[in-house]
Symmetry: C2
Subunit: 367 residues, 2 copies
C-alpha cells in the first residue's frame, strides 16, 4: 500500500482566493496560508496528504508563473521542473490538459489524481484509502472518477453530483457509482431536496483517472484544447516546454473540466466518501472549522483580541496587533498588511465584488 | 490690542487622551494629533490662538516629562525652560499652582490665561476678544474668571456653570457674570433643563486671572498644595527647579482647580461666549465636527475607505491603508499602528476601560 511509480499527483494551485481578501491577497493567496492555524499551509497539507501514495518525483503543481517561487518555498522537496507555470488563468480544463500531456510524455501508463491545493480534509486516512481505491479502479482503462462527499448540510456554496443509484457500501461492497448529473450550486430549497434524497453528493473537485483516459476524453469533448497541447509532443519535459506553453495557453478556452468533460462523458464515476472535507472557499466554511469561544466567536491570525458584547464574529489580525471589538454580531473583521475588511458574515459572497471595487478605485497594491 | 508683556499663557498638555485610543496613544496623545485634518495639531492650534495676545516668551506648557520633546517639536518657538515637566499626573490644581509660582517669580504683576491644549475653537476672533476682555477684568485684582460656552445642545459630556443672573450683553454691555454653581456632568434630562433655563453654560476649562489672585485663592482653598509650591521660592527659573518639583509633586493631592478652588471661592466669574468650541473629548464630539458624507459617515486618518450599507460611522485609518466596511450603523472603526478598535459610537465612554483591559491583558506596548 505504499507509493506506486506509475501514480502521479497534480496539485492545482493557481487560484487567487479573492473571497479571503484581505487575508488572501494576489501576492499570497489562500493555498499558501494557514488560515486554520494548523501550522501548515493548505498546499503543504495537500502535498503531505498524497505523499504516502505518490512518489515525490511524480508530483506536479500547476500554478501561475508568479507563484512558482512560493510553491517551491512551501514544497522544497520538489524540483523546479515539477512546478508548471500557467502564463494566464484558464480554469481547470487547460490546466489538466497540460499536466496530462506532461505526464504522458514521461509515463503513458500513468494513473493520476488531480486535486485543488486549498481544501481541508480531516479524515485523512479514509481519504487516502479512497484515492488508492480510485487509482486501482481507473488503472488501464478510460474511466473518469471524481470524489463526492456525503453532504452534512444543505450547502448552497457547492456543486452537487447526483448518482445513478445511491451507493450501498454496506451491501455490495463498493461505493463507486455511475454519475447521473452534475449540478450547479443550488438554492437553499433545492439543496434541501438534494440532501434529503440521498442521491446527491458534494463535488470535491478531486479527480482520479489514467492519463490515457483523460487524454481520450479531452480529445473527444474538448478537441481544441487537446489539439493545442498535443502539438507540444516532444517538448514536454524539455527546455522548450515553457515557451510552447506560454504560446498555447492564451488561446485556450476558459473552461472547467467539470463542464467541459465530466458532465459530457458517459465514463464518469463517483466515489462517495464521508471523510471531513471543506473547500474552505468562504469565511463561512472557515468559521465552521475554526475553534470558537463561548460566544461562538472565532479569533485567528495570531493577533490578540478583546471582545465585548460580540457574538458569532470572526476576527483575524496578524501577530503583534491587538483588536478591541464591541457590539458586533455575526461579522467578519480581517486585517492584513495594508487592508482592513469589516462586513457581515452573511455578506461574504460580496467580498469578491469589494475586492474588484478596491482594485478599481485604489489600485492593485491593496489586493 | 497687541501682546502685553505682563500677560502669560499656560497650556496644560499632560493628558494621555485614552478615550481616543488607538488613534491617541501614550506615546502620542491627542494634543499632538491633527484628528480633524486641519493641518495642525491641537497644541499647535492652541499656541497660535494665544500668540496675538501673549508674547512668545510668556508661554508655559505643563506636560509630562515624557512629552517634553514632543511639545518642543510642535512649538519650536519655545525655549526648553518654558516646558514644565510634571513628574507624575496630579490633575489641574497642582499644575496651575506650579505654573503660577513660576510666573510669580518672574513677574508678580502678571495676568495669566490657562487653557487645555486639546480643544477645538472655531470662532477664534471672538474667543481672542473674550480672553482680552477677561485679562483686563482680572488685572490687578483677585477675581477668578472662567470662560463658559453657550450650550447648543443638552450635552451630557460636559460640566456646566450656572450664572447668578443670565448675561444680558444686549442691555448692560457686559456679559461677565458671577458664578452661582459649578455642576458635574448631568444626565440627559438634567442637561435639557439646564439648556432650556438659559442660566447654564458649558465649562470650557479655560481660566483667566492675575497671578496674585490665583495664588491667594490657592492659599485659602488648597493650602497644602500652595504651601508645597511656596517652599520652592528662589528655585523657580533656576537649575534647581526640576529637582524641587520632582520632590514636591508626588505628595500633592490629585485635584482639579474647578473642584479645589472655583467651586469654593466667592470671587469667581464667568464670561460666556458663543464662539464655536468643543473639547473634542470623545469620538462623538469629533464626529460632530467632522466632514460627513451623505450617509453621515466620517472618514479620516488619511486612508482610503469603501463603505457599503453603512451609516453614521467613523472610520479612521492611516494613509496607505484601505478599509472596506459593510453593514455598520453608528460605529467607530479606528486603526493605528498595532491596534484596531471597532465599537458602537454609543459605547465611546467605555473606551477608557477597553484601554485598561488591553494594558492589563496584553501590555503597555499597545496603548
Amino acid at each position: 500500500m505504499g507509493q506506486n511509480k506509475n501514480t502521479y499527483c497534480v496539485i492545482m494551485a493557481g487560484g487567487i482566493g479573492s473571497r479571503f481578501w484581505p487575508l488572501s491577497k494576489n501576492r499570497m493567496p489562500k493555498q499558501f496560508l494557514d488560515v486554520l492555524g494548523t501550522g501548515k499551509s493548505f498546499i503543504r497539507s495537500t502535498f503531505e496528504r498524497f505523499l504516502p501514495i505518490v512518489p515525490v518525483e511524480n508530483f506536479l503543481v500547476v500554478t501561475s508563473e508568479s507563484y512558482k517561487t512560493l510553491v517551491l518555498d512551501h514544497l522544497p522537496e520538489l524540483h523546479p521542473d515539477q512546478v508548471l507555470a500557467e502564463p494566464v488563468r484558464r480554469n481547470t480544463a487547460p490546466c489538466i490538459a497540460y499536466a496530462a500531456r506532461r505526464i504522458a510524455a514521461a509515463n503513458p501508463a500513468a494513473t493520476m489524481v488531480v486535486a485543488p491545493s486549498d481544501h481541508l480534509i480531516t479524515g485523512e486516512a479514509e481519504f487516502q484509502a479512497i484515492v488508492r481505491e480510485g487509482l486501482a479502479f481507473v488503472d488501464g482503462n478510460e474511466k473518469l472518477m471524481t470524489i463526492g462527499i456525503k453532504p452534512s448540510r444543505p450547502e448552497t456554496g457547492y456543486g452537487y453530483i447526483q448518482v445513478d443509484t445511491a451507493p450501498r457500501a454496506e451491501t455490495d461492497g463498493t461505493s463507486i457509482c455511475k454519475v447521473k448529473t452534475f449540478t450547479e450550486k443550488p438554492n437553499l430549497e433545492m439543496a434541501r431536496v438534494f440532501v434529503d434524497s440521498g442521491e446527491f453528493f458534494w463535488n470535491s473537485g478531486i479527480f482520479v483517472w489514467s492519463v490515457g483516459g483523460i487524454l481520450k476524453a479531452l480529445g473527444t469533448y474538448l478537441p481544441e484544447i487537446d489539439a493545442a497541447f498535443a502539438r507540444g509532443e516532444g517538448k514536454y519535459g524539455t527546455a522548450e516546454e515553457q515557451a510552447f506553453v506560454d504560446a498555447v495557453y492564451p488561446a485556450c478556452d476558459n473552461i472547467s473540466i467539470d463542464y467541459g468533460v465530466m458532465e459530457k462523458s458517459p465514463e464518469v464515476y463517483v466515489r462517495c466518501g464521508d471523510f471531513g472535507w471543506s473547500d474552505i472557499g468562504t469565511w463561512g466554511s472557515l468559521y465552521q472549522h475554526a475553534v470558537r469561544d463561548e460566544q461562538q466567536n472565532a479569533f485567528g491570525g495570531g493577533g490578540q483580541v478583546l471582545a465585548y458584547d460580540t457574538r458569532g464574529t470572526v476576527v483575524n489580525i496578524p501577530a503583534g496587533k491587538v483588536a478591541v471589538v464591541e457590539g458586533l454580531e455575526d461579522y467578519l473583521v480581517v486585517e492584513k498588511d495594508n487592508a482592513l475588511l469589516i462586513c457581515r458574515r452573511a455578506s461574504e459572497q460580496n467580498i469578491r465584488n469589494y475586492v474588484e471595487d478596491v482594485k478599481y478605485r485604489f489600485g492593485e497594491e491593496f489586493i
